[in-house]
Symmetry: C2
Subunit: 579 residues, 2 copies
């Protein structure tokens, strides 16, 4: 199936949804070029890569046919460097443009895109916490994509719970460490795309405190690196096997054995978790964008099938024989749901990236703190809500195909298989929800949540002064925002009294908040679209945006009412249920 990057919608969000201002001409030029590259070089490898899968043989991993050539072009064209500092060879693009580019490459091929996604995370961590020597040695190679990065957290007994980590790091006389242990679920932990792999590894030094306060972060290269980044001998880390997975099968998921491998401490000992969180925050946001991406790909494919598959007479009798199934009301419903969900999640991601940009570029410390709080509140929504919705969207894509959707050759099923990991890796939805509830909501007594609610109320004001449709949406948005505020108040109140009741409601709270903030972005988009329409600009696109915002408000945003009941009235029946 072909893929076409939704440049117009991505640019609409950059221009109108994200706070802050961006050089729009430059952004459009970059995204168009990248869209062409991904459509032509990366997207065609999506189905074939899934069929073939990654190969493992005696410690070596071979990626599927075409991956090497495509990755070489990716590196040659400098795409890895898009959002990274020019100091290390990057292009210094704002995060909001990087997020758009991230959607494009992930929609083209989720398995392929995982490699650059992990490299981005490693770059992020080294930029913030690496020593000058480490930065000078590794960053240019990572930013160019010549070398790739990995995150090594999980061990068989330590998944969501990093306190259970056992990998050991013993300091050596030369200042380096010897790393010993087994890591699992290491994405692109071994592969044939790049000449070196830079593993960032969590491990414990011998005298470290127990639990999460005794974890340090180490850089462990596959090949040791000499002066001028010349590759030296192979380090003592090897790939023991790769997993047989439900989806993203072209991407190798490795068991890595560290057998006294040479590692270099990043930052201070025992501060590894804090550093890893930085990397994870970037990765969590990126995984949320993967949710948008796979939804977009599934929607494009289902839409194209629905336009060509002839089946059934229309219920209104408007044709004597079978018509394209897109004319049947329920197929319309499913396509509208896929579209509205995808556009809302895309807007949520752009909005969040814009706040991240603001947090990094604003001069005033107060404004920076404010922007940072908002951005950090939004990250679990992007990760949790966009990925959960991608399960629905990709499943609906299969449903539109009917029986053909169940046949692997049509490709619809691959999207559901690929999407299934998104609400799990980089922290499950429950982990995101606990982060949203504990660190982002309860810790400041609901202040940031209130700050967001106030911004939403402002949009409601604007909607109420607008068209009839805008006024309709103001009502829905206002109901949803009130649900949110009641839920926040309830959680702040109940948490000190009954912490289990609060956390039993964490996921419904996250889904409510994600839905609200995403729907809010479509409501803001509607205002922009109505103004553009009034000026006679791009009427097809703007009318479609208005219709999508309206559908979202009436069919999806209303779900906040349900989550509100679950949070406020549901704890007793939940905690009393026999298991």
């Amino acid at each position: 199936m072909t893929y076409e990057a939704p440049i117009k919608d991505l640019m609409f969000n950059i221009a109108h949804v994200a706070p802050g201002s961006v050089d729009l001409e430059m952004a459009a030029a970059v995204l168009e070029e990248f869209g062409r590259f991904c459509a032509e070089e990366i997207a065609p490898l999506n189905a074939s890569g899934d069929r073939e899968g990654a190969h493992f043989d005696k410690g070596q991993v071979k990626t599927p046919a075409g991956f090497q050539a495509a990755y070489s072009k990716f590196v040659a064209m400098g795409w890895q460097g898009l959002p990274h500092p020019s100091e290390y060879g990057g292009q210094d693009l704002p995060r909001v443009v990087g997020a758009a580019a991230g959607e494009i490459i992930n929609a083209a091929n989720l398995s392929f895109a995982l490699c650059p996604l992990l490299t981005d995370g490693a770059i992020e961590a080294l930029l913030r916490f690496g020593s000058p020597e480490i930065k000078a040695t590794y960053l240019p190679k990572l930013v160019s994509g010549a070398w790739t990065g990995t995150m090594n957290l999980t061990e068989p007994q330590a998944g969501s719970d990093l306190a259970l980590l056992r990998t050991r790091a013993e300091g050596q006389a030369d200042g380096a460490y010897r790393i010993t242990g087994t890591k699992i679920f290491i994405t692109y932990g071994e592969h044939d795309l790049a000449e070196n792999i830079v593993h960032l590894v969590l491990a414990r030094t011998p005298d470290a405190p127990k639990g999460i306060k005794g974890i340090s972060l180490f850089l462990v290269p596959k090949f040791l690196v000499g002066g001028n980044a010349v590759l030296g001998p192979r380090n003592r880390v090897r790939c023991q096997s790769i997993e047989h997975k439900l989806g993203v099968r072209a991407s190798p998921t490795c068991v890595l054995e560290f057998e006294g491998a040479t590692g270099f401490l990043i930052g201070r000992e025992n501060a590894g978790l804090e550093y890893m969180f930085t990397m994870m925050n970037a990765a969590r946001f990126a995984v949320g964008v993967q949710g948008v991406a796979i939804g977009e790909r599934a929607h494009q494919q289902a839409l194209s099938y629905a336009k060509t598959r002839l089946q059934g007479r229309p219920v209104d009798g408007s044709a004597p024989g079978a018509v394209a199934i897109i004319q049947h009301p329920d197929v319309r419903r499913m396509l509208a749901h896929m579209r509205a969900t995808t556009e809302a999640c895309r807007a949520l991601a752009a909005f969040t990236a814009g706040w991240q940009d603001r947090a990094e570029t604003t001069e005033s410390p107060d404004e920076r703190a404010d922007a940072l709080a908002v951005a950090e509140f939004l990250v679990p929504l992007v990760k949790g809500f966009c990925t959960e919705m991608s399960l629905q969207t990709t499943s609906t894509g299969v449903q539109i195909y009917g029986g053909m959707g169940f046949i692997e050759e049509t490709g619809a099923a691959q999207h559901t298989r690929d999407a299934r990991i998104l609400p799990i890796y980089e922290g499950t939805t429950a982990i995101q929800a606990n982060d949203l509830l504990g660190r982002k909501t309860l810790r400041d007594g609901g202040a940031t949540a209130g700050r967001i609610a106030a911004m939403i109320a402002q949009t409601e004001q604007e909607l109420r002064q607008g068209s009839q449709v805008a006024q309709e949406i103001a009502l829905r948005l206002s109901d949803a925002r009130e649900d949110f505020q009641r839920v926040v108040a309830h959680l702040v109140d109940v948490s000190p009294k009954d912490v289990n009741a609060a956390y039993a409601a964490a996921v419904p709270y996250l889904m409510l908040a994600g839905n609200l903030v995403a729907g809010w972005q479509l409501a803001r988009s509607l205002l922009v679209a109505e103004a553009a329409l009034a000026r006679g600009e791009d009427s097809a696109f703007m009318s479609a945006k208005i219709a999508t915002a309206r559908f979202y408000a009436h069919h999806i945003l209303i779900e906040t009412a349900l989550q509100h009941v679950r949070v406020v009235q549901g704890a007793t029946s939940l905690l009393d249920t026999a298991l």
Copy 2:
């Protein structure tokens, strides 16, 4: 993963949820024995069968290792005949017991169970419409399981839309027909489990009217059958290939080529669709039960994992280190959701089967017509609601496993892959919803829907006189029932004016009705359980039933409010959405 048949809950439903009375001792004895057989012989082949898949080679289909031996035992023990007439060698069990047995075998192994499921459909059709000769020749062999049955509807251009069928049937001098055409998606269309396969095939005679009124039903055996059921020469039907599918991989899904095959007309020419509907109604109900089954299997597996996987400290600080994840509130939420959904869907299926039994056994024509109308209203709910919910339940099962759920070896992913066909085959959810709306609701002006609402209101009365929990649930049930009645009134009203608006709401209407009727059964169950508890009977089981009913009411039944808004206020925004 092991499987244990939930005999206690199945028997509770047979005794208390289904209308009518059944010999409980006999039912329990049969189900316990069948549960043991399925757990020991069929369930262990579920994962291995998925890994190996069905094999195709030059027209032959080989089932995975172990399937032949297990099927032989299945036949030898007479399990195929459970719900069928003793006249043909069956055991005459009521449908409500047959449905319970169906859940058990499908939970053990969905791929395996599809073969008997299709045979059941063929038996049903021949019992009702076969000539005395056909019955005498084929039914004993089908009822014993020595031969198996298939349904041949779909062709490449004719899926949901049977009007587009092209397979031809030309009458011969001897009264037989020559059948020519290609059928696809034929489950167990070819295999090595039985000595003969009885295909029921839809085809057109040369002078047949166009569209669905020109379709006839033919019996086409794989081997022609002589006197005393002796097998004769191979018929001209061959398997061209089998599909590469997302799930139920151990079951062969065949492309069958009929090349002038000898077929025998069932009933009258051009009445094939009516006959096929009989068969489909049985099959649709059975597929709904598959939804319950796969939910149960996924729940058993997730529950067992959650009890043993140690990860994370409890939020309430009740333990100093990692505890079994079942102690975390969100894992409890997910497990409670899986359990409540599965029990509610199981109760819905038992209730429906009970009405089917009543429709078949009641003497009074009025009562029979009433029971038939209720049963027919319920079938699309069982098929549509139970299968859609199985997507959620099996997906939640993966989520509870976290990263391990994405690894095929753990088996959690297989359940989601297997479940994904359920809302598609035997009529997609939209087809069920159109049936519910058009034939079961609008045709009688909402009378049957009203009949059901009145029964629910009666249960509300009883709940209001009960415990505090019963009174709570009465409120939820009453809200949901009122949502249902408003939706029915709206659809009856809007349909003549705007048929597209009515059918755009068909699936939300089905989900509302399914949720309501399933939740109603749990509410009825709660009344039974409270009475039993008061008598001191089986307090663990009865307390759990009460808690589950309560969870369902507060977390799931409340979704009717949302569907109500979608149906009543959602049509304009849906039909106006640009696609």
